[in-house]
């Protein structure tokens, strides 16, 4: 299941629609990193609202996306982590330390806009 990636202004928005396999997650990582360059994106939003499980592989892939995008000059925000998912992640021992998160898409966009103003 390929994740649609939308371009909105200087930002890319990856909107996950359903459960993803490890291969789907890796594919998302490659696609996002390629598109950061292609569209000269300043920010990336990954919307995980539809994910009902975030295990160690998913978290590692999101971390990799954020770090790789930063190396390419783009900020990443993870939005929409569900409360039960957050609870399970903490129990599992997973964190997204150093990676921006926001409650939802709207907050994520506001975060990237604020970052862009900082850099201007």
């Amino acid at each position: 299941m390929e994740v649609p990636i939308l371009k909105q202004g200087h930002y890319l928005i990856a909107s996950i629609q359903s459960a993803l396999t490890d291969a789907d997650l890796s594919q998302l990582r490659e696609a996002l990193i390629a598109r950061v360059g292609k569209y000269r994106a300043r920010g990336v939003i990954v919307d995980v609202t539809a994910l009902d499980v975030m295990d160690s592989f998913a978290v590692r892939t999101l971390r990799d996306i954020a770090h790789m995008a930063r190396l390419r000059g783009s900020e990443t925000v993870i939005v929409g982590i569900q409360p039960e998912v957050a609870f399970a992640m903490v129990q599992l021992g997973l964190s997204l330390k150093g990676i921006a998160t926001a409650l939802d898409l709207e907050e994520g966009l506001a975060f990237l806009d604020a970052k862009a103003r900082e850099r201007a």
Partner: protein, 136 residues
């Protein structure tokens, strides 16, 4: 034990399938949404361990009762290379696969009971359980 689910694990699609089936069974047995998510996440970790280290194996999920508590038992079994040092495999951050090393210790934290049996050349069996919290 009428409704034991037996789920073959041989690809990453099977990991998603196993955790979705586990969540369904947990929901059918009245686990909260939080516990359903915890169980599904733990299944995802042990199923991925099978795939990473043994390439194939099986996850079995069944309802259980223990001293008046209702719960769900998950067994993840493979006939892969086995684990030489079980204490090390249960340490946070230890990994021989380049992962985060949180799979087994993480699953242990998520579940109430956790037991790991393995020996080199003998495969690995993880047995874990989650019990419904009684609302007194």
């Amino acid at each position: 034990m009428a409704e034991e689910l037996r789920l073959a694990i041989a690809s990453d699609v099977d990991i998603v399938h196993a955790r979705e089936k586990g969540r369904e069974l947990a929901a059918a047995h009245g686990f909260t949404l939080g516990d359903q998510t915890v169980i599904a996440t733990a299944i995802s970790e042990v199923a991925r361990n099978i795939l990473l280290y043994a390439r194939r194996g099986e996850v079995r999920i069944r309802p259980a009762t223990d001293t008046g508590r209702d719960g769900l038992v998950v067994i993840a079994e493979d006939h892969g290379p086995g684990i030489r040092d079980i204490a090390q495999a249960l340490q946070d951050g230890f990994s021989t696969s380049g992962g985060l090393g949180l799979g087994l210790p993480g699953a242990r934290r998520l579940m109430d009971d956790f037991d790991l049996k393995s020996a080199p050349g003998q495969g690995t069996t993880v047995t874990m359980a989650k019990w419904k919290r009684s609302h007194g």
